[in-house]
């Protein structure tokens, strides 16, 4: 595991960020809005940043805090000329949206940059003893995050604070872009995706697995942040979760419907999910909801040798078939 990173230092980060800003400055006059990131309520958080005027560009900040997948906003802005800053993983969502004709290529301007990974806030929280409510200072380099919280200074190894998807990332550079600021790191799509965590979980006994999900989903509040943060949950206001006819789910607060919804989400993403992890990141009660989607992707890979979000022209496997399926062995009775 692990992504051999370019030994660029902070200076390079600043350099490509300036280049990126120049790119946006050039393109903005033709665009309604460019979406990037900027600082948020404390030094440890960033927030999506909608740039409409030139002066908005100054606030743009690219850092390991740029966690949000901004592709989520694209279908809602259809019809507008939109610029979007993408990490490698985010760009794969853009590819999916293009593939599904949910956005028009000519309306979208994509700004790429070499992504060295984003943090997992829960990991930082754990490293800080379960509390990130009083962050006074935060600075990051390639190798460490320095945080001051409640008069205590922490120096955390960046590699350990990165989101899981980043430590096994195979697409650090945008797979599709109109502008690319900085030096590409190099994508490695031909390497196998890492599903070790899924496999470990599958080795548990049936009651252990079933019980695990019941326990985890018990605290679900059905806010559907997982769904709304998902760039590929494109039904938006017409989701099966709230439909009365068909009546997939009840409104009762019960663990069955919460679990069922996650299966619905995973299945509706079969062959579409790019594992950007927004569902899990958005969950306000930290339920590990990404694993269902990883499992689905693993099955799609094993059965159809297909990976979503790489080729805008590809046909997703569940929208096609072969008379003879090489990797499906039917049961003999």
């Amino acid at each position: 595991m692990g992504n051999p990173r370019s030994e660029s230092n902070k200076g390079d980060q600043v350099k490509f960020q300036e280049e990126l800003k120049d790119n946006i400055r050039k393109a903005l006059p033709e665009l309604d809005v460019v979406i990037g990131w900027c600082g948020s309520f404390d030094p440890l958080h960033a927030t999506p940043h909608f740039m409409r005027r030139e002066e908005d560009i100054d606030k743009l900040e690219i850092s390991p805090l740029s966690v949000h997948n901004l592709a989520t906003y694209l279908p809602g802005l259809r019809g507008k000329k939109v610029g979007i800053v993408v990490k490698g993983c985010d760009s794969r969502s853009v590819v999916e949206l293009l593939q599904e004709n949910l956005i028009n290529r000519e309306d979208i301007t994509i700004f790429g940059f070499p992504c060295t990974g984003v943090v997992d806030q829960s990991k930082i929280k754990k490293a800080l003893g379960g509390h990130t409510g009083n962050i006074e200072f935060c600075d990051m380099s390639e190798s460490v995050i320095v945080i001051k919280s409640e008069d205590k200074a922490y120096t955390l190894p960046m590699a350990e604070m990165l989101a899981d998807k980043c430590s096994s990332c195979r697409y650090p550079d945008a797979v599709i872009s109109d502008y690319f600021a900085g030096e590409k790191i190099g994508n490695k799509g031909e390497e196998d995706a890492d599903y070790a965590a899924v496999e470990t979980f599958e080795n548990l006994s049936v009651p252990e697995r079933f019980g695990y999900w019941l326990k985890e989903f018990d605290r679900c509040i059905r806010c559907y942040a997982c769904r709304n943060a998902c760039p590929l949950c494109v039904c938006r206001d017409h989701c099966a979760a709230e439909s009365r006819d068909p009546h997939w789910l009840s409104q009762e607060n019960n663990v069955r419907d919460k679990l069922m919804f996650q299966v619905i989400h995973a299945y509706h993403l079969a062959g579409r999910c790019t594992e950007c992890g927004e569902c899990q990141r958005a969950c306000p009660v930290d339920i590990p909801v990404l694993m269902f989607k990883q499992k689905m992707n693993k099955e799609i890979r094993d059965t159809f040798q297909y990976e979503a979000g790489v080729d805008p022209e590809a046909t997703p496997p569940l929208l096609s078939f072969k008379m003879k399926e090489e990797n499906i062995t039917e049961k003999v009775w």
Binding site: E202, F210, K215, D218, E252, N254, M323, W333
Partner: protein, 154 residues
């Protein structure tokens, strides 16, 4: 008349209208002995089966789910079962992550004339489910309703 001794389990069968439902009918007319755990729901085509039906059935108390359609190349709608095969195969393999044995769900093809094959499929699937025993059940709105009983059973 249950072929299998012991308590009946709940098996839900989704059968396509054109082949498998006919096959089951043929088995019935031929008076082939079959276990009675299966409850059949007729659908227009195996391509009509949303694989989520399978999970919904299991979560609502089924111990096994069987889908049966026309043989490949024999679909009344030409290619419904080809799409179904891909979807159902994926769901079959997905089940373990939730905590269901994949063997609780099978899909197969039975034509309207294959009464004998239908008997074979039902009997063998029913045996398979009985071997697994009852599926994990969700017993109340809160996780603790189920977990406390699961722990007691372990």
């Amino acid at each position: 008349m249950p072929v299998l001794t012991g308590k009946e389990l709940r098996i839900v069968g989704f059968l396509c209208n054109w082949c498998s439902y006919g096959g089951a009918d043929t088995a019935g007319i031929g008076r082939f002995n079959q276990p009675t755990d299966l409850r059949i729901i007729k659908v227009p085509c195996s391509g009509r089966i949303d694989p989520l039906f399978v999970v919904k059935a299991l979560m609502n108390g089924a111990d096994g789910v069987l889908v049966s359609g026309c043989h490949p190349r024999d679909c009344h709608y030409a290619e419904g079962n080809f799409y179904a095969r891909r979807r159902l195969e994926i769901m079959h393999n997905f089940l373990p992550i939730i905590g269901y044995e994949p063997e609780r769900f099978e899909y197969t093809w039975v034509s309207a004339s294959e009464g004998q094959r239908w008997q074979q499929v039902v009997t063998s699937f029913t045996e398979q489910i009985h071997k697994l025993g009852p599926a994990p059940k969700i017993l109340g709105p809160e996780a603790s309703d189920t977990l406390s009983l699961m722990q007691a059973a372990l």
